[in-house]
């Protein structure tokens, strides 16, 4: 074999090895989930037949219809609201100058590396009785939605600003000469082009919100009907693992499934968003 062929062979061997490492844990839990309790699985647990009974059991016993509903409501509202808000902030920081913009933008940027673990304690107490308004938000969807909009706006602002800065200045100026207001420029000229950037941002925000765990654990543990899917999985695993690991595995697969399906179809958006978003710093 020539050196070039050897190089090529080595390259693919390395890539394939690490691809297997990346996939195996995901496959192993799927394999386990395809069994039923009475199979008494151990070791690699390659499935010999496809048995979906564990999924059915997990779905009903883990009350995942409730968990999925909560997760979808929270993730959809957070994604929608933070997209609208970030288009606004990104537009302003990307195309305009105003008093204080150089001070405010870095403060918003902080939100990207923000350790939101450090915010759950006051959120827990303030949501029991919101200062001045005396609302009780603990154990409601709002307790999850409001803080996650706040966190997502930081990333969204950063992402949309980069997009708006990259649009040609002449486009905006031409529209202005035609008498468009600043909102007209955004709505009719820039937004139609911004759709791919908005889609990437929305996918990432939806994924982060769907996967979020600590806020759900602290802020909605007290209400079964508001628990998100990951929180439901955590409780279900704690209660059911000793008895039937196949059911817990099935529940885990269910929770990961919506994101994985979207990822399969739109993977380019995810990778671009996470890499470019990170690198733009």
């Amino acid at each position: 074999m020539s050196t070039a062929r050897l190089d090529r062979f080595g390259t693919y061997l390395v890539l394939c090895t690490f691809t297997v490492i990346a996939l195996y844990p995901v496959l192993s839990i799927l394999f386990l989930a395809l069994h039923r309790k009475t199979d008494l699985v151990t070791g690699f647990a390659f499935p010999t037949r496809i048995d979906l009974s564990s999924f059915e059991a997990a779905w009903t016993e883990g009350r995942f219809s409730t968990g999925f509903k909560s997760s979808f409501i929270v993730a959809a509202v957070v994604t929608g609201a933070s997209a609208v808000l970030s288009i606004g902030t990104g537009y302003a920081f990307g195309t305009m100058r105003f008093t204080g913009d150089r001070i405010v933008f870095p403060i918003i940027l902080l939100g990207i590396i923000f350790p939101y673990e450090a915010t759950v304690i006051p959120l827990y107490y303030d949501f029991q009785d919101v200062p001045l308004l005396h609302w009780h938000l603990l154990n409601t969807y709002w307790a999850l939605i409001l803080p996650q909009i706040g966190q997502s706006v930081a990333f969204g602002t950063f992402w949309m600003r980069a997009f708006f800065r990259s649009t040609p200045r002449s486009l905006i100026e031409a529209a202005r000469i035609d008498g468009a207001t600043s909102f007209g420029v955004l709505w009719r000229v820039l937004l139609p082009q911004a759709m791919p950037a908005v889609l990437t941002m929305s996918l990432l925000v939806f994924t982060y919100t769907w996967n979020e765990f600590l806020l759900a654990l602290v802020l909605v543990s007290g209400s079964e009907s508001h628990q998100t899917a990951p929180l439901g999985l955590s409780f279900f695993a704690g209660a059911a693992r000793a008895g039937d690991p196949t059911k817990v595995a099935a529940a885990a697969v269910l929770v990961a499934l919506p994101i994985l399906v979207v990822y399969l179809f739109l993977q380019r958006h995810f990778v671009r968003g996470m890499l470019a978003g990170a690198l733009k710093e």
Partner: protein
């Protein structure tokens, strides 16, 4: 068309000249615009961010100055909670565990990523998109789900122990997450698994932006694979390495989801990390003021680490 434009929004790692040029082009004031109309667009988003992210952080700092069980009156104690944090050997251990996790979450994946990238730069990769898609997969899975998958892999009768028996190392088999010595490295390995794909994809994408002429020149000069790596690849990946370190280090310090759902800090506190200890103090032991002090210290540590990595990286670039 619009697609292409989104792609041009990609970062330009070509150095300090480029961003400045773009700023002049992009930051110009729209003609005839009232100077402060920008605030109209910024205010709604800013309000959410300030109310639900910044304000709670400041509120945490405020709590940290009190002794409070969450129910009765707060008592002002000044910096006493921080004094206790300094003396608390459990908290010190938790930070040591975090430091060890940084090796697994950040240092190891970056090194693995670099070595692999060095090996992979010698040939063009066909099907790169497929590899990228799979290597990236762990990034998107919820921490709770990852914890379930690995709890099974590490179980007494799980795949890892079976594999060890198969290759004749059955004497090493153990319940990994329940083992005093091995629990923390086992959690670390989960972190390595989550982040190595991110590093690899980041670096491979970065290498593809390095002009091939640099590699040709190195080869003409007779540089071997090692010299080529240190002379061309490593300097060319400067930005990517920095980003990888910041992201993975922050991941390591925030490892709450995985720790809570695998070991919950056990066995015997061997895998306790600061965020887990904060959670326990705030919501299990009712020591809210002390938990707030831990949260504040953790936040400062994360901001400081990010600042240090970026600062050091900046200096490296200028040199």
């Amino acid at each position: 068309m619009a697609q292409e434009r989104a792609d041009t929004a990609r970062p330009d790692p070509s150095g300090p000249g480029a961003p400045r040029r773009r700023r002049r082009a992009g930051r110009g004031r729209a003609p005839g615009d009232p100077r402060n109309i920008g605030w109209l667009y910024v205010l709604p988003g800013l309000a959410f961010y300030v109310l639900f992210t910044l304000a709670p952080l400041l509120h945490t700092v405020y709590y940290s100055l009190y002794s409070w069980d969450g129910l009765t009156e707060k008592t002002w104690v000044g910096l006493a909670n921080y004094g206790e944090a300094l003396r608390d050997s459990v908290l010190r251990d938790a930070f040591v565990h975090s430091a060890i996790l940084i090796v697994y979450y950040a240092v190891l994946p970056v090194i693995i990523g670099l070595v692999l990238t060095a090996a992979l730069t010698r040939t063009a990769i066909r099907g790169f998109r497929f590899f990228r898609t799979t290597l990236f997969l762990p990034q998107l899975i919820a921490g709770v789900v990852i914890a379930q998958a690995w709890t099974w892999i590490y179980a007494s009768d799980g795949p890892l122990n079976r594999f060890l028996e198969l290759i004749g190392l059955g004497s090493l088999a153990r319940p990994w997450l329940g083992d005093f010595t091995w629990a923390l490295p086992s959690i670390g390995a989960i972190g390595s698994w989550v982040t190595f794909g991110l590093c690899m994809v980041l670096f491979i994408a970065g290498v593809q932006k390095i002009p091939t002429s640099l590699y040709d020149a190195a080869r003409v000069d007779g540089a071997g694979i090692v010299r080529e790596f240190f002379a061309v690849t490593l300097p060319g990946l400067h930005n990517e390495i920095l980003v990888a370190f910041v992201l993975t280090t922050i991941n390591a310090l925030r490892s709450f989801d995985i720790v809570y759902n695998t070991t919950a800090g056990g066995p015997g506190g061997e895998t306790l990390v600061p965020s887990m200890y904060m959670y326990q103090n705030a919501f299990l032991y009712n020591r809210v003021g002390y938990a707030a002090a831990i949260a504040t210290v953790l936040a400062v540590a994360i901001f400081a680490l990010a600042a240090i990595v970026l600062r050091v990286g900046d200096r490296g670039e200028r040199a």
